[in-house]
Every structure is written in structure tokens, then in C-alpha cells.
């Protein structure tokens, strides 16, 4: 499961360059910040703020790619590029994907 969600070589390379302990800190920071970004996607969709929506998707994409969370990254990229969706369905999908990714990331970086 984790193998699909996280590109292990990317994460391994990150650990090698900045240290495994630091990556664990970084993952913790991501897990702290990401729910806020997803919430931001929802509120900006409600308010029709395309720019802020794009920025939140962009942030999420960048962070996901940093950890090799390629599936989440690809999904966020779609939101960034396509702009405000018609419904919250896309955000819901993204959120459940995020929850799985977060679990996988925690499992790997703590192990």
C-alpha cells in the first residue's frame, strides 16, 4: 500500500541528504500544516477565491512531492491547474487520499 502512495527512493534520498531524524520532524510539520491547507481549499471554494485556492493546492502539491507522495502530489496538481471545481467531491477525494498518505508517511518515517 505504502509503496503505491509513497515513492520510497525519493523519501530515502531525502533521508540521506538531510538525515532521518530531520525528515521525521519535517513529516510532523507537514501533518500539522496539511489539514489547514485542505481546509483552505474548502473555504476558498466556498468563497470563489480562485487565487487562494490555487495557492493552497500548490502548497500541498509541493510538500507531497518533497516526501515522494506522488499520488497525493498528482491529485493536488490537478486542482492547482484546473482551478475551482464544481463541487467539493474532488476535495473529499483528496482529503481521504491525504489521510492514507499521512498514515503511510508516519509508518515509514517512524520505522
Amino acid at each position: 500500500m505504502a509503496d503505491d502512495l509513497i515513492d520510497l527512493p525519493t523519501l530515502k534520498e531525502l533521508e540521506e541528504t538531510v538525515g532521518a531524524d530531520f525528515v521525521a520532524e519535517l513529516v510532523a510539520a507537514f501533518l500539522e500544516e496539511a489539514p489547514g491547507m485542505i481546509a483552505e481549499l474548502r473555504t476558498t471554494l466556498d468563497d470563489g477565491e480562485a487565487d487562494a485556492f490555487r495557492r493552497a493546492a500548490h502548497s500541498l502539491k509541493t510538500n507531497a512531492n518533497t516526501f515522494g507522495a506522488q499520488v497525493l502530489g498528482a491529485q493536488a496538481l490537478t486542482l492547482e491547474q484546473e482551478g475551482l471545481p464544481d463541487s467539493t467531491a474532488a476535495i473529499d477525494t483528496l482529503e481521504s487520499l491525504y489521510v492514507e498518505t499521512a498514515t503511510a508517511l508516519q509508518a515509514i518515517s517512524n520505522g
Binding site: 538531510v18 519535517l26 510539520a29 500539522e32 510538500n63 512531492n65
Partner: protein, 345 residues
């Protein structure tokens, strides 16, 4: 890696990015300060010196493009190297960043090896540029160096109103013959150091040194409100400096040094003359010739500082001068009114 750690500013609104970039850079031996948006970054840049900026583009409040626009018009900051780290999609963003002066555009997630290579290269370029600037300053005066940095180099002049000063050591030839050359060089160095300081303190620019003589310009390359007054005050400061030098020489049982100064104000053409390979910043015109003639005339008149009518008119309310009457100079069809500037006020 650079011989010492550099100070980098990491600008990113995203915490994970900020932490990761700072960590990567610190592992390379540098120190970092972080800013979470463009506005905070600009404030920091204006307060503290940084060797390099790692700049994100997509940020709330002030984005990276705006930061770069601000930097490009700020003469203090426009040479701080910027490496853009962004994951904005599309080539157009990359092009815009480079056009705005970024050293490079690194796509996030940033490859650590590329980041290190890029930082090292940018810091090395900055070091060379700083070194070059130092050299230009040494050989050109800081005003000309600033003018060159700002407007670039182009042969040609522009017409302006300014004041020219010539200064010469009296009896220099006899002095040179009476002492070993090493002592003459030492004397010239001390003398020039003092004269430069006095002239620079009054916004003048020394643009020529020939043996014991020097030429200084007031009002170019940067305009001055009162170039004549600045030149006259510089001349008085030069005499004060010279007294210090003479006091020291007296203690060493060496002979006194005396100088003559000629000052003239008026229109002139200032700019770079020479060739593309070798050029100098100078002023040309009647005013320049007159200043040189006045300097030569100090010996005949038995005065230390002589000024022309235009200079006198500009300073007479604030400094003490005395009219010496008209003098016929070579190359001048009409006699010129000459005034002596008094040393003590």
C-alpha cells in the same frame, strides 16, 4: 564550498519548504534566516546584509515576483543574488524570473546536489563582483564607481555646471631631487591620502593625479547644490590637513610642504573619454583651463588659494575672499577677475 559560511535568506510561505531549505543550506555550512512572505523578506533585506536569497514565488501578501521587482530598482539590493525555488508550472514563470534578474530557477522539490552547486556558483559570482567593485573603487573614486554601476560605461559627455580644482605641491622638483625616491613616494602617498580625504568629505571627486598635482571635480558625476562652496571648503580642509602633515614632518626634521590651489566654476562637459579599452572620467572646457591657470598663478600672486569670479560670487557671503583685480591669462581673450580665498575664517 565558500571559505566561510554565507548568510542566506530563505523565503517561503510553506513551513515544510522553509524548514527543508534552511536545513539543506545549513548542512552546506551556511547560516540562514527565514521569512514567510515577500514583505517580511524585503524588510529583512533592508535591515541586514545577506549574501544570497532563496526565493519562493507563490506567496500571500507579497509574492516572489514583487520581491524581485522591488530588488531590481533598489541600488543597495539589486546585486544580491536570488535563486528562485518554486514549483509553479509552466516555462513562462521561469523566463519571467530570469528576466527579473534571478540567477537561476530551481524546481521544487529541489535536488540537493543541484542546490549546492547553484548556491556555490552564485556566491562565487557575488564574491568576484564584490572584488571587481572594490577594484573599480580603488582606481576610479566611489562616485565614478557608483555612476558606472548605475548607468554603465559609455564614452561621451554631458554639459553641466560645476567647479574644478587644481592643486600642486610648491617646489616639488627641488624636493624630489633632495631626497631618495622612496621618501618621495612615501610623501606622495601621505599627501594624496590627506587631500583625497578632504576633497571626498566635501563631495568632490579626484579624477587625475599627475606627479604631485591633482585635479578634482565638484558637481559631477553627481550634481551638487553648491559646487563652488563645496570646492572652497574642501580647499580650506586640504590646508588644515597639510598643516598636520607639516607638523609631523617638522618632528622628523623634514622640510615643509606648501601647495597652491586654483578653483573655477562654470559650465563644462563631463564624461568618459578615451577608448573602449581604456578610459577616464574627466571634465573639459574653459572652466577647467581657467582653474589650471589660477593654480599656476598662485606662485606669482603669492597666495595659496585663488578662485575665479563665478566661484567668488557663490561663496563670498560665507567665506572671506579678497579681490586681486583682473589678470590676463594665456589663452583668454579678456582679463579675468581673480580672488584670493583667505585661509583663516
Amino acid at each position: 564550498m565558500a571559505e566561510r559560511g554565507a548568510r542566506l535568506l530563505v523565503v517561503d510561505d510553506n513551513k515544510v519548504n522553509r524548514l527543508l531549505l534552511a536545513r539543506s543550506v545549513e548542512l552546506q555550512g551556511h547560516t540562514t534566516v527565514s521569512a514567510e512572505n515577500g514583505r517580511v523578506a524585503l524588510d529583512l533585506l533592508r535591515e541586514e546584509p545577506f549574501d544570497l536569497v532563496l526565493l519562493d514565488m507563490e506567496m500571500p501578501e507579497m509574492d516572489g515576483f514583487e520581491v524581485m521587482e522591488h530588488l531590481s530598482v533598489d541600488s543597495e539590493l539589486r546585486d544580491v543574488p536570488v535563486i528562485v525555488t518554486s514549483s509553479l508550472e509552466g516555462l513562462a514563470h521561469v523566463v519571467r524570473c530570469i528576466e527579473l534578474g534571478a540567477d537561476d530557477y530551481l524546481h521544487k522539490p529541489v535536488n540537493q546536489v543541484v542546490l549546492k552547486a547553484r548556491i556555490d556558483s552564485s556566491l562565487e559570482k557575488k564574491r568576484l563582483r564584490d572584488q571587481q567593485r572594490e577594484l573599480i573603487k580603488r582606481f576610479a573614486t566611489s562616485e565614478v564607481a557608483a555612476d558606472l554601476a548605475q548607468s554603465g560605461f559609455a564614452l561621451g559627455g554631458r554639459r553641466l555646471y560645476g567647479t574644478v580644482m587644481f592643486c600642486d605641491i610648491r617646489g616639488f622638483t627641488a624636493l624630489v631631487e633632495s631626497q631618495p625616491p622612496e621618501e618621495t613616494i612615501e610623501l606622495l602617498n601621505a599627501y594624496y591620502a590627506l587631500m583625497f580625504e578632504a576633497i571626498a568629505a566635501h563631495s568632490g571627486v579626484v579624477n587625475q593625479m599627475i606627479g604631485d598635482g591633482l585635479m578634482a571635480i565638484f558637481g559631477a558625476p553627481h550634481a551638487l547644490d553648491e559646487p563652488a562652496l563645496a570646492a572652497a571648503r574642501a580647499a580650506l580642509a586640504m590646508l588644515e590637513m597639510l598643516e598636520q602633515l607639516n607638523a609631523k614632518r617638522e618632528g622628523q626634521h623634514k622640510s615643509r610642504i606648501d601647495i597652491g590651489i586654483g578653483i573655477a566654476s562654470g559650465e563644462m562637459i563631463a564624461g568618459y573619454t578615451g577608448t573602449e579599452q581604456r578610459a577616464t572620467y574627466t571634465c573639459i572646457g574653459d572652466t577647467v583651463n581657467l582653474a589650471a591657470r589660477l593654480e599656476a598663478h598662485t606662485k606669482i600672486a603669492g597666495e595659496t588659494i585663488l578662485v575665479d569670479g563665478d566661484t567668488n560670487a557663490a561663496i563670498v557671503a560665507r567665506l572671506r575672499t579678497s579681490a586681486l583685480g583682473p589678470v590676463a591669462f594665456k589663452g583668454k581673450s579678456e582679463p579675468v577677475d581673480v580672488f584670493a580665498l583667505q585661509e583663516t575664517i
